[in-house]
């Protein structure tokens, strides 16, 4: 913690903590939303004509599919035409508010330091988390991904909190190797890529949950048709589905308001490929910088190794999506592993691995 005396940097710290508090509240609001949104969705359905359910013929999987199709339409709806999840709205409003404080914190830090605020671990985390929120809010304009709000605000609350507690470093002048336009470009684009990978990761996780729900629904149908022959098929399926729903065997109830695992996968893929492009650029820009600063464009320095590993993992993910037998659940795991590597690179590698990239400012 800095001294109590007034400085722009201490204002920045104050803003950081305010942002953290607001994000924590946003997280709570989003969590309440997830807990409640399935009920809201069910009520909305009841009010609407139950055409889909009838058309679906009553089998569990077709009921699930109908829910998913409606959810997909809602995800792709224009901002004005989205379902009115009141807690999600509160969550988003709080996120925007927290974001404003976050931006304030970042800018005051930048002014206090007299340079771009991403030159050591503290500043990098500060800006990186800000970009995660920025990308999330930006994406909300096109897709209603508020169901990822808990993940995004939770992630940022934890990262930013840890940053403020453990990574804080006072403003010191830049060391010579960091005085480069490539710092501005390379690090900024890397943060953007990280934000996109985070979204892809969250979508891949929901994809896995949804895929499980779909599998269970199919299994329930099979059980009911191959099971008691006497029972009326429709009633049996409805019963099985009801039982599964009540006992929570199909996973969290909010899954009912989410699109199909296929649709989630395709969304995850979209963010991952944009992230991949940015990451490729990061790799190239980093090499150009390394060639100026260290006299070689590539030297398998620890940080370079991990940047490469992440790049190859995501190349693998993209391939997996195009490989028979790997599309779906398996490729989703690769997206999850990829993001785990990104987080590992940012935390563990920065703090504990030895290498030339000693910009953490921690000792």
């Amino acid at each position: 913690m800095p001294e109590a005396e007034f400085s722009l940097d201490s204002v920045s710290v104050l803003l950081v903590w305010t942002a953290i508090a607001i994000y924590a509240l946003a997280f709570v609001a989003y969590a309440v939303d997830l807990a409640r949104r399935s009920d809201l969705a069910v009520k909305a359905k009841d009010a609407a004509p139950v055409r889909e359910l009838v058309a679906a013929g009553g089998s569990t999987i077709s009921r699930v599919r109908a829910q998913e199709d409606a959810a997909l339409a809602a995800v792709e709806a224009r901002p004005g035409a989205r379902p009115r999840y009141i807690w999600a709205r509160i969550g988003t409003s709080l996120t925007v508010l927290g974001f404003l404080f976050h931006v304030g914190a970042d800018i005051t830090r930048g002014i206090a330091a007299g340079r771009v605020p991403w030159s050591n671990m503290y500043e990098f985390a500060l800006t990186g988390t800000m970009l995660i929120i920025a990308v999330y809010l930006f994406v909300l304009l096109k897709y209603d991904l508020r169901f990822l709000g808990t993940f995004i605000t939770g992630l940022v609350t934890v990262l930013l909190g840890a940053t403020a507690i453990w990574f804080y470093t006072i403003v010191v002048p830049l060391s010579d190797p960091l005085k480069s336009v490539w710092l501005v470009i390379h690090v900024f684009v890397a943060s953007l890529a990280t934000a996109l990978f985070a979204l892809a990761f969250a979508l891949s996780v929901t994809q896995l949950l949804q895929a499980r729900r779909e599998r269970l629904a199919v299994a329930a149908d099979e059980a009911s048709t191959t099971g008691d022959e006497v029972a009326v098929a429709g009633a049996g399926a409805a019963g099985a589905a009801g039982a599964a729903g009540k006992t929570g065997k199909t996973g969290p109830r909010f899954l009912r308001t989410l699109p199909s695992s296929d649709a989630l996968e395709s969304l995850a893929y979209r963010f991952a490929i944009i992230g991949f492009i940015f990451w490729t650029f990061t790799l190239i820009a980093g090499s150009i910088w390394a060639n100026d600063a260290w006299g070689r464009y590539w030297g398998f320095d620890t940080k370079e190794v991990w940047t490469f590993v992440i790049w190859v993992l995501y190349a693998g993910y993209i391939h997996a999506r195009a490989t028979r037998g790997w599309r779906g659940t398996r490729s989703a795991w690769l997206s999850i592993v990829g993001f785990a590597a990104v987080m590992f690179n940012f935390t563990i590698v920065n703090m504990f691995f030895k290498g030339l990239h000693v910009y953490s400012g921690l000792s």
């Binding site: 010579d176 100026d292 790997w326």
Partner: protein, 573 residues
């Protein structure tokens, strides 16, 4: 979301267009073919093996293996990046070291297993890309596929009935509508082909246009993969033509780019002719550095390093240039980097008669951020015994509570030089090269400093003190007396590189990135417009089919419909 690349329920003519679809390994997610069992016989097995190697699954597995195999290199110190780390590891883990070394874990990126993975990957890549390239060249010339009989079976499909004015021929009107659609599609960058059928028996004439776009997607994919091969080759070939060398220059001194004269170390690639280095010379005129003043945050931090050189090339005027961090100097195809700096106190040793037996700028290696530095002086001839002096230099000397000296600030505020003195055999008479920065005192006696009873010699700039045992005197020259800007000279260490491959690596990397952009974001899709006379008007059908990831296919069909109707309405008015 109708972007699933293919729907098995579709008619085969949609899935297998007449040669315009990209060729894919047989286990690609879009494919319908299975890898067949190997035919009997050697050739059959070979073909089967080759198909396995160039399959999507193999590529995927090799990619994942590559990622995993790269990780140990970030855990264990690597000889190329951190040679001292390896030595350190060896001393700390003498038992583990040979095992890990045998597994090439200190040379991961040149190890047999790492090489095997990437070489296989690239063989697979080439084997995969070559046939696809050949196929794609043909596809680029092919026409868009025939309009399917029933467009309504496609996910993205729309249909309208357009009345025709009385007295107009519905067939002609249908053809006209498709003409307009064709013009629009062509303008939008689609390759178009008409598939009209004349009226047969009871069936009316059908006008239709088939349009396809996004060949750049496959082009981009192929360019991307090929550029990766380019990167690999540039790295490999470039490595053989690359050299790096290190040198140290003290203020006022010069470096000549020649192996025998200038370098303290030199690592040439396999194909480098070390005898034919470009002739040039560098003179260090001065070295600039600024330190953060005492009392400010980051106190003592050094920055704004600049080695100011006079450079000379044959047939050219001397030039004044500087080398800074992040700003290497280009000289005759070499790049010169500033790697380090330090102090080089000028030391004079005289024998008891007052004759100079040694006079040199001795480079001291910095030990900490405040430039506490260490150096060694070896006097082989001219005194009664060989002398070895281990020196410590403190630019801003300060005494700690313990009585030990330290440097409190990196600039020359109160410079102080101390020496431990050893006499005896320096161990350099047998002609083997010795490290100039280290002294081997095993054959020597300690005369002053360290554990000896005699205190270490202490000198400030300009001072002279006696050596122990009346062996003579030693002087720490004040450089300002010789016209220098500071009391002590500085030196820089420079690294000189020639990397022939780097520009090619960069070029291929950028091409790969551009290819990737096209491969991932250019939508590849087919659109159809069909017009059939029906019920006193013309029934217009629109349909689209995504070929690969295409989130906007539905929008594209809707746009097509809107565009055509607007144009037709405009005609009427």
């Amino acid at each position: 979301m109708s972007n699933s690349p293919s729907d098995p329920a579709l008619a085969p003519e949609l899935v297998e267009g007449p040669g315009t679809d990209p060729l894919r390994p047989s286990d690609h997610a879009d494919g319908t073919r299975e890898i067949t069992q190997p035919q009997l016989g050697f050739v059959g097995w070979l073909r089967w093996g080759w198909r396995q190697l160039t399959s999507m699954r193999t590529a995927l597995v090799l990619l994942l293996l590559l990622a995993i195999a790269a990780i140990p290199g970030s855990i264990f110190p690597q000889r190329t990046a951190d040679p001292n780390g390896v030595i350190d590891f060896q001393t700390k883990n003498p038992d583990l070291y040979p095992v890990l070394n045998g597994m090439q874990l200190f040379d991961v990126y040149s190890s047999a297993w790492f090489s095997a993975i990437y070489i296989l990957l690239f063989i697979s890549l080439i084997g995969c890309v070559l046939p696809r390239t050949k196929h794609h060249f043909k596809a680029l010339k092919a026409r868009p596929p025939r309009t399917p009989a029933r467009l309504s079976r496609l996910d993205d499909h729309a249909e309208t009935l357009r009345p025709v004015a009385e007295g107009t021929d519905a067939g002609a009107s249908a053809a006209h509508i498709v003409d307009v659609a064709q013009a629009q599609l062509r303008k939008a960058g689609y390759r178009v082909e008409r598939y009209d059928t004349a009226a047969v028996g009871g069936r009316p004439a059908v006008a239709s246009v088939s349009a396809e776009r996004g060949y750049a997607r496959e082009t981009g994919n192929l360019v991307f993969h090929a550029a990766l091969v380019g990167v690999l080759i540039s790295v490999g070939v470039g490595g053989g033509l690359t050299y790096t060398g290190q040198t140290v220059i003290v203020e006022g001194d010069s470096f000549v780019n020649s192996l025998g004269l200038g370098y303290t170390s030199f690592n040439p690639g396999r194909f480098v002719d070390s005898e034919a280095l470009p002739p040039y010379s560098l003179t260090l005129d001065s070295f600039d550095v600024s330190y953060v003043p005492v009392g400010e945050s980051g106190q003592g931090m050094a920055g704004d390093f600049s080695a100011n050189l006079t450079t000379r090339e044959p047939g050219q005027d001397a030039k004044e240039q500087s080398v800074r961090v992040n700003h290497p100097l280009d000289m005759a195809g070499d790049r010169i980097y500033l790697m380090g700096n330090g102090y080089a106190p000028t030391i004079t040793v005289r024998n008891p008669d007052g004759d100079v037996v040694f006079r040199e700028d001795v480079e001291f290696l910095p030990q900490d951020a405040n430039m506490t530095s260490q150096g060694v002086v070896k006097i082989t001839d001219g005194l009664s015994d060989q002398l070895g002096l281990v020196g410590f230099f403190y630019p801003t000397a300060m005494t700690l509570h313990s009585g030990a000296l330290t440097s409190a600030y990196p600039a020359l505020v109160s410079p102080l030089l101390t020496f431990w003195v050893y006499a005896g055999d320096l161990g350099i008479n047998d002609g083997t090269a010795r490290n100039v920065y280290a002294l081997d005192p095993s054959e020597m006696t300690l005369l002053a400093g360290s554990t000896s009873d005699v205190a270490a010699l202490q000198l400030e700039p300009g001072q002279t003190v006696d050596l122990p045992n009346d062996m003579g005197t030693i002087t720490f020259e004040d450089n300002t007396a010789n016209g220098g800007a500071e009391t002590v000279k500085r030196y820089v260490s420079l690294s000189i590189h020639r990397d022939v491959g780097a520009p090619f690596v960069l070029a291929f990397a950028v091409i790969a990135l551009l290819g990737l952009l096209a491969a991932l974001f250019v939508p590849r899709r087919r659109l159809w417009v069909k017009a059939v006379p029906a019920d006193g008007g013309v029934r217009i059908e629109y349909a689209g089919l995504a070929r690969g990831e295409d989130p906007a296919i539905a929008v594209a069909v809707a746009d097509l419909q809107r565009g055509l109707e607007t144009a037709l309405d405009g005609e009427k008015a």
